[in-house]
C-alpha cells in the first residue's frame, strides 16, 4: 500500500489549467523526487498535498484511504509536513523554540516546559546523526543555511510525520552543506518516512532518489524507479515531456495548450 497516492488529480485557476490527470505516489522508506521545469506544476501539486489548495478533480489517498484536504491543518493531522526553504523558521527564536513552535509543551502551571522540550530537541537531532548544530539553545539567526535546513527537517521528525515534502532543500547551499542535507534526507527515508523531494538539481535527484516523478506542463510525464533511467532521459522528460518509450503520447502533450 502506498503511503501517499494521487489519482487523476486536476486543478485549475480560472482558465489556467495548472494540473490535469496527475497520478503520483510516494512510499514509506523511499525518497520520491518531484522534478519539472518552471511552471510545470510542482508548487501547485505540493500545495494540493499540503491542503493549501483544494483539488478540483481526482482524489488524494493517504495509506489507501481517500482524504479531503481543505486546509493545512487537515494535512498536519494526517502527518503530512511541508518543509519550505525560507518560511519555516523564526530567526529570533532558538533551535528548541523553533522545533516546538505552535506545539509547545507546558507543565502543570501552564508555563513552558523548557527542559522537556530541550531534551527532546537534542535527542531528535542526535538521532538523525546531526553533529553540526552545536547547541540547541542558540538562535536560528546564527545558524548556516545547511544547519537551518537541518533544523527544519528535524522538526518533521520530532512530530513523527509520515509524509515529509522538502521544497528545494538544497537550493541555496554550498557543496558540503548540500551533502549533509542529502544525507539527512536519506536517513529520514530510512526511518520509514515517505519523503518527497522537490528539486531542480539533477545531481541531487540522481544521488538520493529511489523514484522520480516528472511533471511536464501540468501533466505527469512519467514516474519511474531511479535505477531504470539515466540522467539524460530524465532531462529529456523534463524538457519535452517524453523520452523514447517513456512519457506523454506525442499528440497530446501538455494540459496548458
Amino acid at each position: 500500500m502506498k503511503t501517499l497516492e494521487l489519482k487523476d488529480v486536476g486543478k485549475s485557476f480560472g482558465p489556467v489549467v495548472a494540473l490535469s490527470g496527475v497520478d503520483f505516489s510516494a512510499e514509506a522508506g523511499d525518497v520520491t523526487a518531484l522534478v519539472g521545469d518552471n511552471g510545470a506544476g510542482k508548487s501547485t501539486l505540493v500545495k494540493c498535498i499540503g491542503g493549501i489548495h483544494r483539488v478540483d478533480t481526482g482524489e488524494i489517498l493517504v495509506d489507501g484511504t481517500p482524504q479531503q484536504l481543505h486546509e493545512p491543518r487537515d494535512a498536519a493531522r494526517l502527518g503530512i509536513e511541508i518543509v519550505h526553504q525560507d518560511l519555516a523558521l523564526a530567526d529570533n527564536l532558538d533551535v528548541v523554540g523553533n522545533m516546538f513552535l505552535g506545539r509547545e509543551r507546558v507543565n502543570r502551571l501552564r508555563t513552558l516546559d523548557e527542559n522537556t522540550m530541550e531534551k527532546l530537541a537534542a535527542q531528535t537531532l542526535s538521532s538523525l546523526g546531526v553533529r553540526t548544530v552545536r547547541s540547541v539553545r542558540q538562535r536560528v539567526a546564527n545558524l548556516s543555511g545547511g544547519q537551518r535546513q537541518t533544523v527544519a527537517i528535524a522538526k518533521s521528525v520530532l512530530w513523527s510525520s509520515k509524509i515529509v515534502i522538502l521544497d528545494e532543500p538544497t537550493a541555496a547551499l554550498g557543496v558540503a552543506q548540500t551533502e549533509q542535507v542529502l544525507d539527512l534526507v536519506r536517513r529520514l527515508a530510512d526511518r520509514g518516512v515517505a519523503v518527497v523531494l522537490v528539486s531542480h538539481n539533477m545531481n541531487d535527484v540522481m544521488q538520493v532518489a529511489d523514484s522520480i516523478a516528472v511533471l511536464f506542463l501540468g501533466r505527469m510525464a512519467a514516474q519511474v524507479r531511479r535505477q531504470d533511467v539515466s540522467q539524460t532521459q530524465v532531462v529529456e522528460l523534463i524538457t519535452s515531456g517524453r523520452s523514447g518509450a517513456l512519457g506523454l503520447p506525442a499528440e497530446s502533450r501538455g494540459a496548458a495548450q
Binding site: R73, L93, T111, Q123, S126, S127
Partner: protein, 423 residues
C-alpha cells in the same frame, strides 16, 4: 517516538563544579560577540550617566532627588512596558501617549463631574484603554491599515478628545487625599518596604534555584550555583541600598509642630515591580509570549506553525493601550491633576526611547520587559540631571536636544547590531 536515541545524548553530559562556571562565562562572552548584548549596553549607559550627573551635580543621588527621579520615571516605564509588546511585532503605537491622556481625562471626568469613587474612575479609564487598543489592533490585523497611519490618526484625535473633555479651564485638579494622588506622592511604610523587598528577593532566588534544579534533573546544563548566588546577592544589595535611602526622612523641617516625615519608597515602585513581574512572566514563560516573539521574528513561520497571527496582533495593541491608560493614571497622580494636553508632546517619544535604549528592536522580534525599566531609568536620569544642570530659559530646549540625541544613538546602535547579526 525518539526512544531509541539515548547513546548519542550521552556525550552532551553537562559539566559540574568550577568547570561549569567556565563554560557559563565562555558562552556568555560568545553571546556578546554574536551580537546578543541583552541588557549590557543599557546597564553600562545607566551607570555612566548616573556617575556623570553625580559628579557634576552635588546631591544628584540624594534621597530627595532619587524620589523625584523614581516618580518621574514611573509613567514612562509603565508606557514603555506596553510598547515593548507592540515593538516586538515590529509595529508602532504613536498614540500611546494621547491614549493615556484620554484615559486619565475620562477618569477625572468620572471622578469630578459624576462623583464616582476613585476605583470606578480608574476602571473606566482602563476599560477605555482596552477598547481603544482592541479597535486599533482590529484595524491593523483585519483591515490591514499600517499601524503607523492608524495610530497617527488616533494620536491626533485623542488629543482633541482630551481637550474637549477637560474643557476650557485647561486642567482638572484631582481631589486631595484621594488614593490616586497617594500613588505617586505618599510612601510605603518602612517595615512594609523591607518586607516586600524580602519577599521579592526570596522569590527571585527560589525561581532561579528551582530552574537550575529542574535542568539538572533533566540532565541539562544548569546555571552554575555561583552565578545564581552572585545574581541574588546583586539584586538584594541594589534593593537594600534603594530601600535604605528611600527610608531616610526627606522633610527638611521636623519639629514639635510639624512632625510629618517623608520617608519610604513611593507606592508607584510597588506598582512598577508588580507590572514588571506579570509581563516578564508572560513574555518569557508562557505560550502566548513565545508566540509574540515568533510572529515578530517570522510571521509566515508562525502562521504555518498554527499560531493565529491576527489574534496575537490585536492582543499586543490591547496590552499597549491598557498599559498606556495605567501610565496616564500614574501621570495624573504625579501632577495631581489632568491637563488638557495630557499625554501630548514628548510623552510617547520618551517611552519609545526608553524601550529602544533598553535594547528593544524597532524592527520586531527582539526585546524584553527589563528593557522598559532600564531604558525608562536612563531617560528619567537624563531629564532629571539635565534640569538640575542647566538652569535658565533654555533648559527645556537642551533637555529635548539631549533626549533626542540619546534616542538616535540607541536606535543607531540597534540598527548596527542588527546588521551585524543578519549576515
Amino acid at each position: 517516538m525518539t526512544a531509541k536515541t539515548e547513546p548519542a545524548v550521552a556525550e552532551e553530559t553537562p559539566v559540574r563544579g568550577p568547570g561549569a562556571l567556565r563554560v557559563y562565562i565562555r558562552e556568555y562572552v560568545a553571546r556578546l560577540r554574536g551580537g546578543e548584548l541583552g541588557s549590557a549596553p543599557a546597564i553600562v549607559g545607566l551607570v555612566v550617566i548616573t556617575a556623570f550627573f553625580a559628579i557634576v551635580h552635588q546631591g544628584f543621588l540624594s534621597a530627595y532627588n532619587l524620589e523625584a527621579l523614581v516618580i518621574q520615571a514611573a509613567p514612562i516605564i509603565v508606557m514603555a512596558m506596553g510598547l515593548v509588546f507592540v515593538l516586538l511585532l515590529g509595529e508602532i503605537d504613536l498614540s500611546a501617549g494621547t491614549t493615556g491622556g484620554l484615559c486619565s481625562a475620562i477618569m477625572a471626568v468620572l471622578l469630578l463631574r459624576h462623583g464616582q469613587s476613585w476605583w470606578v474612575g480608574v476602571l473606566g479609564g482602563l476599560v477605555a484603554g482596552l477598547v481603544i487598543g482592541f479597535v486599533m489592533g482590529w484595524l491593523r490585523a483585519r483591515a490591514g491599515i499600517p499601524s503607523f497611519v492608524i495610530t497617527l490618526a488616533t494620536f491626533l484625535a485623542f488629543q482633541g478628545l482630551t481637550l474637549i473633555l477637560i474643557g476650557g479651564q485647561g486642567s482638572v485638579i484631582l481631589p486631595t487625599g484621594s488614593p490616586l494622588i497617594s500613588l505617586e506622592n505618599s510612601f510605603v511604610p518602612l517595615w512594609l518596604g523591607w518586607t516586600l523587598l524580602g519577599i521579592f528577593v526570596a522569590g527571585y532566588a527560589a525561581i532561579k534555584l528551582i530552574d537550575a534544579r529542574g535542568r539538572q534533573q533533566s540532565g541539562l546544563a544548569a546555571t552554575p550555583i555561583a552565578v545564581i548566588v552572585a545574581k541574588v546577592i546583586g539584586v538584594a544589595l541594589l534593593g537594600s541600598a534603594f530601600t535604605y535611602e528611600m527610608g531616610l526622612n526627606r522633610n527638611l523641617i521636623t519639629n514639635a509642630f510639624f512632625s510629618s516625615k517623608a520617608q519610604g519608597e513611593p507606592w508607584a515602585v510597588v506598582l512598577l515591580v508588580l507590572l514588571f513581574v506579570i509581563w516578564h512572566f508572560t513574555l518569557s514563560r508562557t505560550r502566548y509570549g513565545r508566540h509574540v516573539y515568533a510572529v515578530g521574528g517570522n510571521e509566515e513561520a508562525a502562521r504555518r506553525a498554527g499560531v493565529v497571527v491576527s489574534r496575537i496582533r490585536i492582543s499586543v495593541f490591547v496590552i499597549c493601550s491598557g498599559m498606556a491608560a495605567i501610565s496616564g493614571v500614574v501621570a495624573a497622580s504625579l501632577l495631581q491633576s489632568v491637563q488638557s494636553n495630557a499625554g501630548a508632546g514628548n510623552t510617547l517619544l520618551l517611552a519609545v526611547g526608553a524601550a529602544v535604549i533598553g535594547g528593544t528592536s524597532l524592527f520586531g522580534g527582539r526585546g524584553r520587559m527589563i528593557d522598559a525599566v532600564l531604558g525608562g531609568l536612563v531617560v528619567a536620569v537624563i531629564i532629571n540631571g539635565m534640569s538640575d544642570l542647566i538652569q535658565g530659559s533654555n533648559s527645556s530646549g537642551y533637555e529635548w536636544v539631549v533626549t533626542g540625541a540619546v534616542l538616535l544613538l540607541a536606535a543607531g546602535f540597534d540598527a548596527v547590531v542588527r546588521h551585524g547579526r543578519s549576515t
